[in-house]
């Protein structure tokens, strides 16, 4: 057995795990059932979570690797009972049908929107092709992807919450 410490959705955890477990096993054992096992071999993206803000397939990631790291799943994206801007965009665009792929897609979009902002990319310059390429690791059998692309577009066009905070606290 192996002990590790990590943060899951902003809460610190000390865990004892079997070194053979995947990050998917670890998170589902913590009750975070938004993390879905679809293919189990890194092709469908239903298990996508963020490790230090980077999207990874939890099914192809050793639990042991998250020691000292920060994990985000869709459960942690709701703040004070409000959906995150990305989650809200998926609702508004009608990008959720059966819902199995949705948690993974939300996390991929969350990482994508964050990295576009960090790189200072103008949402106007981001093409539907860019959005599709950035979400190529997530399969959806229901929507045909068009509404998902629209949801990502809406999420990109929303004001950056981190910038809003700095503006409101500025003198």
């Amino acid at each position: 057995m192996l002990t590790l410490s990590c943060t899951i959705n902003d809460r610190p955890h000390e865990l004892t795990i079997d070194p053979r477990s995947s990050l998917l096993d670890l998170l589902r054992n913590q009750g975070l059932t938004s993390v879905k096992q679809g293919c189990g071999v890194g092709e469908c993206g239903a298990c996508t979570v963020l490790v230090d803000d980077t999207a990874v397939n939890a099914c192809l990631y050793l639990a042991a690797w998250v020691h000292g790291k920060r994990i985000r799943t869709v459960e942690g994206e709701v703040r004070d009972g409000c959906l995150s801007p990305v989650q809200q965009a998926y609702v508004d665009a009608g990008a959720v049908q059966c819902g199995f792929c949705t948690p993974g897609l939300i996390m991929t979009t969350t990482a994508f929107v964050q990295s576009c902002r960090e790189q200072g990319r103008d949402p106007e310059d981001i093409t539907p092709e860019d959005i599709r390429r950035a979400h190529a690791g997530n399969l959806c059998r229901c929507t045909g992807y068009e509404t998902i692309v629209q949801a990502v577009r809406q999420a990109l066009e929303q004001p950056d919450p981190s910038k809003m905070d700095t503006e409101s606290t500025a003198p």
């Binding site: 995947s22 890194g42 993206g45 990874v56 397939n57 991929t108 390429r133 190529a136 690791g137």
Partner: protein, 302 residues
Amino acid sequence: MYAFESYHRPQSLTDAVALLAANPFARPMAGGTDILVRLREGHKDYADIVDIHGLPELEGMSADRGELRIGSGTTFAALMTSSLATRLAPMLIEAAGWVAGPQIRNTATIGGNICNGSACADSAAPLLVLNAHLDLIGPEGQRLIPLRGFHLGPGRVERRPGEILRSVRIKSEQDQGLGTAYVKYSMRQAMDIATIGCGAGVRLRDDQSNGIVDELRLAFTVAAPTPVRCPTAEAAARGLPLSQAVKAVAEALDQDVSPRTSWRAAGDFRMHIIRTLAERMIRTAAKRFASSAANHQEARTC
């Protein structure tokens, strides 16, 4: 749960080499995006794991006198966002974008892509064209060897017992005087295995797009049991004007490759793709060589 029987996570490269040397059946694992899939299938070859994921000595990129050094633990995503790698080895970056999808590129490493010995490794064609070298460290010490010849057969590479690939070394494309191009032919534009991958490096004798081919380097993935360079086609092109060179290459190519028939594609279809991509990539690489040579000329006269 992954089906491994023993698991060690060394804290240093020295410890990792010692652990591997102590158990001839142990395998190093970095990104795990291939090995964990095999473990899930219960593959016995991967029962003993030495986990080198995130070892600091295998991370990072640097450049020294025009030579790019890429730590073997560098992920494809890190490569793609590196301005250093983009400047010195644009061909490798072009190929990195073809690897699987974003989540896999965030975890999979260049070292794993080479060391698992796959004939369809997306990084292999550009690294062969760029005459990359591998820096390996093992119980007997360090050695620097060319990538060409490292692949022995499907899943087999010339990595000695206890050895770990520490870094990949590439002389900058500019210093090698090459225009380069890479393309992957696959059914899907992402999350797919190559049907054929093709990389070309071209240097022309004068700066015209119709110049004489001074040097051609051509490499394929999935065209043989290992990634291959094409010595016969390369020799056939030398000294010819570009349009004649592409014809000579098309005729010589079947001596360099041996594409197989699988459910993905028939052998003769693969051969057709090989010839088609060779011509396209040679022309693209020649165009890039001419335009970068023109830019240089401009910079000098300004």
